[in-house]
């Protein structure tokens, strides 16, 4: 992995040398529509006055976009920034979005904010690192961007200076980002597809735009780019040891045989008759989706239905590779651990307990090709978030202090090859990597 990255650095330097010149030329020619070198527009005269209802609308949209998920530090003041988004290329601190004049957006105009969201350019014209998901946010309409701006202007100003970026050289440089943008970024506002109804289009707008689901639920290449072809194909979360299942694939999180109501329930409450969210998706439910209206969540679910056409991969059946039997010793050890530690809640046959403990038989998280999620669940346990629909969730204990890596691998393997489940055995090495 590190060797690969090492080679990649050299490759990138070469790409920067050639591509940088090309990208600057493109930008210079104005072909990208970036206005990267345009002078800062003058600060609007007089205080900003929101239109009626605009602040409330913006507050809701900020939830839909989960802005606070990154721009609010743990235990910190809302939208005052400070959380560092770790990427394989270094850390990107989320800046202060409150209207403080010196450290926040106090001097920003609505046009500056639009340019950040739509073009991924800072007020001084420099490109943002795509940890700020502007490749998704570019689809947001000007009207919604202005409402978000109005909401952020309405927040109490918090003086909190932004932390310096921690991207390793050369990833954070303007030429490197220009190359990245030339390869992966296309500005464009969401255009409703006439072939689909308003609900589908609303869902598409939220899922692909403000909701930026693809930021995690898409595979990324070595440059951290998600291509259009990779939409909702699932992605390993770099630095987090979680896997965001493919929303398009029925065998992962795909919705081929789950009705929209259950997905709405999962996003609204954190639990559904068939499971619960833990890990990074619990963050999303807690700070974003639980606050959305039933109509918007339903629209998102409709858009993600395979029959809707959003998911070209959904109906294509994957040829399931033959899964070899796990070593009998590992299964035997795993069975013993399961019956000591897991069966009381998840049941002798992995049947689970409705509303409290997910069934493991047929559980897609258990059956993913990558075992990282089931290993993470065993190691760290977790509670789904407290939500209006599930204020007092049942929890799962962490086993990192109770079971060693060999035992975790054994019980994960047992769960993946029992109760009718069929997924590859888990090695001790795979557990160690998640540790």
């Amino acid at each position: 992995m590190s060797r690969l990255r090492f080679a990649f650095v050299y490759a990138l330097v070469a790409v920067v040398a050639i591509g940088g010149a090309v990208a600057l030329l493109l930008i210079g020619l104005g072909l990208r529509g970036d206005d990267a070198v345009a002078p800062e527009p003058p600060v609007a005269a007089g205080p900003f006055v929101a239109q009626p209802g605009q602040v409330e609308r913006g507050a809701y949209l900020a939830r839909a976009g989960n802005c606070g998920g990154c721009h609010t530090a743990r235990g910190g003041l809302p939208y005052a920034g400070g959380r560092v988004i770790e990427t394989p290329f270094g850390g990107v601190p989320a800046p202060n979005l409150t209207p403080d004049l010196e450290t926040g957006l106090g001097r920003w105009s609505a046009a500056d904010f639009w340019r950040a969201l739509h073009d991924g350019l800072a007020r001084d014209g420099r490109p943002y690192a795509p940890a700020f998901p502007y490749p998704d946010f570019t689809l947001v309409t000007r009207e919604d961007a202005d409402a978000l701006y109005a909401y952020l202007r309405s927040l109490p100003a918090v003086r909190r200076a932004n932390d310096p970026g921690r991207l390793r050289f050369p990833y954070g440089t303007t030429p490197a980002l220009a190359v990245w943008r030339a390869l992966y970024f296309r500005p464009g506002v969401f255009a409703p597809e006439p072939a689909h109804d308003a609900t589908w289009n609303r869902g598409a707008y939220l899922v692909r735009g403000l909701g930026h689901c693809e930021a995690c639920h898409a595979s990324r290449d070595a440059l951290g780019g998600a291509s259009a072809a990779a939409s909702f194909t699932g992605g390993a979360l770099p630095t987090q040891h979680w896997y965001a299942p493919a929303l398009a694939a029925p065998v992962e999180a795909g919705l081929a045989d789950a009705d929209a109501t259950q997905l709405v329930q999962l996003l609204k409450t954190g639990v559904s008759p068939r499971g619960a969210v833990i890990g990074p998706m619990a963050d999303v439910v807690a700070t974003s989706t639980q606050h959305l209206t039933h109509e918007d969540l339903f629209a998102m679910a409709v858009y993600l239905q395979p029959a809707s056409g959003a998911n070209p991969h959904a109906t294509a059946s994957r040829a399931a590779p033959a899964v070899p039997d796990a070593p009998p010793d590992q299964m035997k050890a795993g069975a013993a651990i399961y019956h000591d530690h897991c069966a009381r809640c998840h049941g002798d046959a992995g049947e689970g307990a409705a509303g409290a403990y997910p069934a493991l038989a047929g559980n897609r998280s258990v059956l993913l090709a990558s075992p990282v999620n089931v290993v993470q669940a065993i190691l760290g346990g977790g509670f789904p978030p407290s939500t209006a629909g599930n204020p007092r969730p049942y929890g799962m204990p962490p086993f990192v202090a109770t079971l060693d890596e060999t035992q975790v691998a054994a019980v994960a393997t047992y769960v993946r090859q029992s109760f009718g489940n069929r997924a590859p055995a888990v090695s001790v090495l795979e557990v160690a990597r998640s540790h």
Binding site: G69, A253, G382
Partner: protein, 247 residues
């Protein structure tokens, strides 16, 4: 444990523990709708009903003052206390639920096991006992008993007891206060105390405390017998100006 830091873009993954496609033939288990059942994630480490023993690392939480437990849960959630497992577990639990969990464990009125035998020499025991019961006025270190109660079983609602806890846990808390990974409400009196003690003294005191039997009445005292010797943001100050009882 993985860093769980937020990843590329707003770190989110469908850890969709879910969608068990009806493969189970059996009827699902029935689960009691009780807090005891809901907090099984806690009791795996903190012991049944929260009564972890003085052996190992995990502290007993059964019977500790509810205000103290609630403050700790919030601190793990909001970052004033560092422990990746605890923080991840409670990161999305509401104040209401955390208050309920704190009250549940606080209400567990259960016997304590015998303490762990001391490994101290008699001279060390005397030195530790002197620090605990008299402090060191020259360095501004108050006796433990001044704040944690004469019996050191804690004081309602926010001061924890010091007995029945593992030695390693006590040592780790002093370390966390010294290096700033554990905070209490400002002014943070325990930070001052931890700064004033040497590593050697911390080890002696922790070892001594872990070896003390818990008195027959192990309940926290109802109120402080006298004004606090230091200002503590977690409890009413010596001047009597309350400042955020549980924080």
């Amino acid at each position: 444990v993985s860093t769980r830091a937020h990843a590329l873009a707003i770190g989110t993954a469908l850890a969709l523990c879910a969608l068990g496609a009806g493969a189970a033939d059996r009827a699902p288990l029935r689960v009691p709708d009780t807090l005891a059942e809901r907090v099984r994630a806690c009791t795996a480490c903190h012991g049944p009903e929260g009564r972890a023993t003085p052996y190992g690392y995990f502290p007993r939480i059964a019977g500790k003052p509810a205000g103290y437990l609630f403050a700790q849960l919030r601190h793990f959630r909001d970052g004033q206390r560092e422990n990746a497992l605890m923080s991840d577990l409670v990161s999305h639990l509401s104040d209401d639920y955390l208050r309920e969990i704190a009250a549940y464990f606080s209400g567990q009125d259960l016997p304590y096991p015998a303490p762990r035998p001391s490994t101290l020499e008699s001279a060390e025991r005397e030195r530790a006992a002197a620090l605990v019961t008299h402090g060191d006025a020259a360095r501004g270190v108050p006796a433990c008993t001044r704040c944690h109660g004469d019996a050191m079983t804690g004081v309602q609602p926010a001061v924890p007891g010091l007995l029945g806890l593992p030695r390693d846990y006590l040592v780790a808390q002093f370390g966390a206060w010294r290096n700033g990974t554990r905070h209490a409400a400002t002014p943070d009196c325990m930070h001052r105390v931890a700064q004033a003690l040497s590593a050697d003294e911390v080890s002696l005191v922790a070892n001594w405390l872990a070896a003390q039997p818990v008195p027959a009445d192990a309940h926290p005292a109802a109120a402080l017998a006298q004004a606090l010797p230091l200002e503590c943001g977690s409890v009413a100050s010596p001047a009597g100006t309350a400042s955020g009882a549980a924080r």
